[in-house]
Symmetry: C2
Subunit: 465 residues, 2 copies
């Protein structure tokens, strides 16, 4: 560690307290590897501030010596964006700034329907606070008990309620963030209309920690539906699932969630102890949660009766945790079932291209000259497919990613629907963005962070050594 790192650590300890600057390798271990096990980095310290003001001091001290800062929330990301780079060639110190101690949640504003939370508050904790006021947090995802406010905003998370509520960006009313020079940027009102200059909160949302360190967020809350029901339909074709979603909307039902799974995925989670959702198997399973007024069970049952390609179906009042369990256990079961780190891709295509894309992606497994077991599932109403490739030899991970992204690009899709670019996909951003677009993003990055201190390598890649 260079000498100026020692001086920096002294300053950081002054800023956040001795015990909140971890330098012991064993203590740092959990902060340096990502959830998937594919990404691992190095850092001189893990720093755990408690307040925005402490973050400001930490970032200011780092800026004064050119130290790199990797921001980490719940470390549930799947693209390596929440861990530092494997090594830093600049010779500058690198710290992980963990928001783990920043878990405060404000009182809910029940009239303005919003709540403020520190960056490290979990989705589950915020939703719990909202529920106490008869409201709900509009973002939900399987990692809800670990994923944090700062993380879902930084990655513009989608999740299982996006079809109903929109993405995380659209839930952000206010934001507090520390800029790369340590100054605090704050917009904090419950106004839904506030056209005074650029929408910097919308820009920070989805910027993956490369522009500023988000410290607090003022989120919209929503009124949860008074009655909802969950159906799982086992169907022959992807088209049948898409038609069922459309039919539900046409009948005046509100679609709260629409998730597609395949027999390969259901079989896998069943082997690991999950109940099969339907008695009879089928190539595809669509989980539909709907709300509405009147007798929604009957309406939904009628819709299922009229669904083309229907093999079997079940219907349960929400929350229907066993039905959701089959869907939500996919990610962890997949991680436990692969002989190599899973190649996890997260793509979207126009709805009309979904059936063809599903077929082409499933065929990647049979057309590879190396082991490759695809498990596909996703938020079908948003055109979003999570592509998981199991048992891929590590030396072939790039090849198979190329193949998947080639299929996606040919179908007019995106190489990152909701997970972001992180470190994992920097080599492929040109598939979805022109040179002019990437240049413009780099200009924005330089405007916010001229020294390149924040999450180096994320989105744009590291400079060649």
């Amino acid at each position: 560690m260079p000498g100026h790192a020692d001086a920096l650590l002294t300053q950081l300890r002054r800023a956040v307290g001795e015990c909140n600057v971890l330098t012991d390798p064993a203590a740092m271990e959990g902060f340096l590897a990502d959830w998937t096990g594919r990404y691992r980095g190095q850092a001189d310290a893990v720093v755990r501030p408690r307040t925005t003001e402490e973050v400001s001091r930490v970032v200011g001290e780092c800026a004064s010596v050119g130290a790199r800062i990797c921001v980490q929330g719940g470390n549930t990301g799947l693209v390596g964006g929440s861990v530092p780079p494997p090594r830093d060639d600049t010779g500058q110190p690198v710290i992980v700034l963990s928001t783990a101690r920043m878990t405060d949640i404000d009182e809910v504003d029940a009239v303005g329907r919003c709540v403020g939370a520190q960056a490290g508050a979990t989705v589950d904790a915020i939703d719990g606070r909202a529920a106490d006021a008869g409201l709900a947090f509009p973002i939900d995802l399987a990692s809800r008990e670990s994923a944090t406010a700062g993380g879902v905003v930084s990655t513009n998370a989608g999740g299982i309620r996006m079809i109903r509520r929109g993405n995380t960006r659209s839930q952000v009313l206010g934001i507090e963030a520390v800029l790369a020079d340590g100054r605090i940027l704050r917009r904090w009102t419950s106004l839904v209309k506030d056209n005074v200059g650029y929408d910097l909160p919308a820009l920070l949302a989805g910027s993956e920690g490369t522009l500023a360190v988000i410290t607090r967020v003022l989120f919209k809350l929503v009124v949860p539906p008074s009655a909802a029901t969950v159906a799982v339909a086992a169907v022959e074709h992807v088209e049948d699932a898409i038609a069922l979603i459309g039919a539900a909307s046409s009948r005046g039902l509100t679609v709260e969630a629409a998730e597609l799974m395949t027999e390969a995925g259901i079989e896998l989670v069943h082997e690991h102890g999950q109940r099969r959702p339907t008695a009879t198997p089928a190539p595809f399973y669509v989980l539909l949660e709907v709300s509405g007024v009147g007798d929604i069970e009957t309406t939904m049952a009628e819709l299922l009766d009229g669904t083309g390609g229907l093999v079997d179906a079940v219907l349960e009042p929400a929350p229907a945790r066993a039905l959701w369990g089959a869907r939500e256990s996919h990610t962890e079961t997949i991680a436990r079932s692969s002989t190599t780190p899973v190649v996890k891709l997260d793509i979207s295509v126009p709805i009309r291209a979904l059936p063809e894309t599903f077929a082409e992606l499933a065929a990647v497994g049979t057309t590879s000259d190396f082991p490759c077991r695809p498990i596909l599932f996703g938020h079908v109403g948003d055109g979003n497919i999570h592509v998981n490739l199991l048992d891929v030899p590590e030396e072939h991970a790039g090849t198979v990613t190329d193949r998947v992204f080639g299929i996606v690009a040919a179908n007019g899709g995106s190489i990152s629907a909701e997970h972001g670019i992180g470190r994992a996909k920097t080599a492929w951003t040109h598939l979805g963005r022109s040179d002019v677009d990437l240049d413009t993003m780099r200009a924005v990055k330089a405007a916010f962070d001229p020294q390149g201190l924040l999450n180096p390598g994320v989105i744009f890649g590291l400079p060649a050594p």
Copy 2:
């Protein structure tokens, strides 16, 4: 005009054709004054490109000589943002870039529910195209026959459907824009999920033409409600209106629009030929358009019966043009009824602060030591009030604006809900944004437009001479 302006005009004529570069003062007249009559500017030419490529050439030629570019759509803005500055002290040429000829609208994608439109296509024309496909454009506002795609995106327009559909920013799927150096930035997919780097379309939305020239937009379309009804309730208090909106939502109705008017406004439009919405007058009138399944008229009638402070009410199936007419004629009637240019302010406050803010704003008329007749109306569900001050002597416009904005700031509100800053409100941006925030916006502006060519003075003000 400096010599290099002549050379520029020659290049511009080559780019867009002789007849699309207007330099005759009479021909330019309509492009140099804004709709309110309060803002008037000067330019060397009005340039009317037809395509994105022509815009690219125009901007490129301007950039090469440092000429200023003021972008103009339907010129329906209310803050002076669509006309050039009164005079340019830099000695550089100034052009108005009019999108009037860029009116192409693509075929509607009925499956992806989206449509592409050139910047100059009007809201009404886009909605008409959507209607042909059984869909609707999610943005609507009284100026729909003149307001353009580029204009509503540049200003992040709200409008009468915002309570149901969200702001314009959230309707933008894709965007094509010409950067300040003439290069074309293009993101054009119907994907609702596409997390590849920064959301530049969201940043351009609401940037008031200061970052790039928007040339085309890919908009979301929505399924219009199958049945809707319009009620106008004459009520004693603002609180009664707010309670009625909440009650409608609680009963399972979908609120499509919620507009508040005052007796002063209704009396004024009635004097100008509009039918009074209710037989009995009251201090406030709330227009509520709701949709839903089942017998929405009966549900709505029951709600009205239970409304506190109710003086009178009417109910008509949508579109209920006469009821809407009383609301939509406000802006033009107000413009015709003032002895001086109307001081038009557009503010928002948290919903809980609406009643008090209404009272304080109405009192501005009686507490001034000069003539001042306030007419207030607005999108009450969004906390948005359009403040119109009639008969204010021009020398007192700044004073009365200060007074209104002081009330707004004290109530935690925004000095610009949906109209933007333009040239009109640059002196007051510090009321809603910190120095750090304004500095960050300036850094973004510099990253996009280092020469400061695009809409000089808009949002940030002109440098002191």
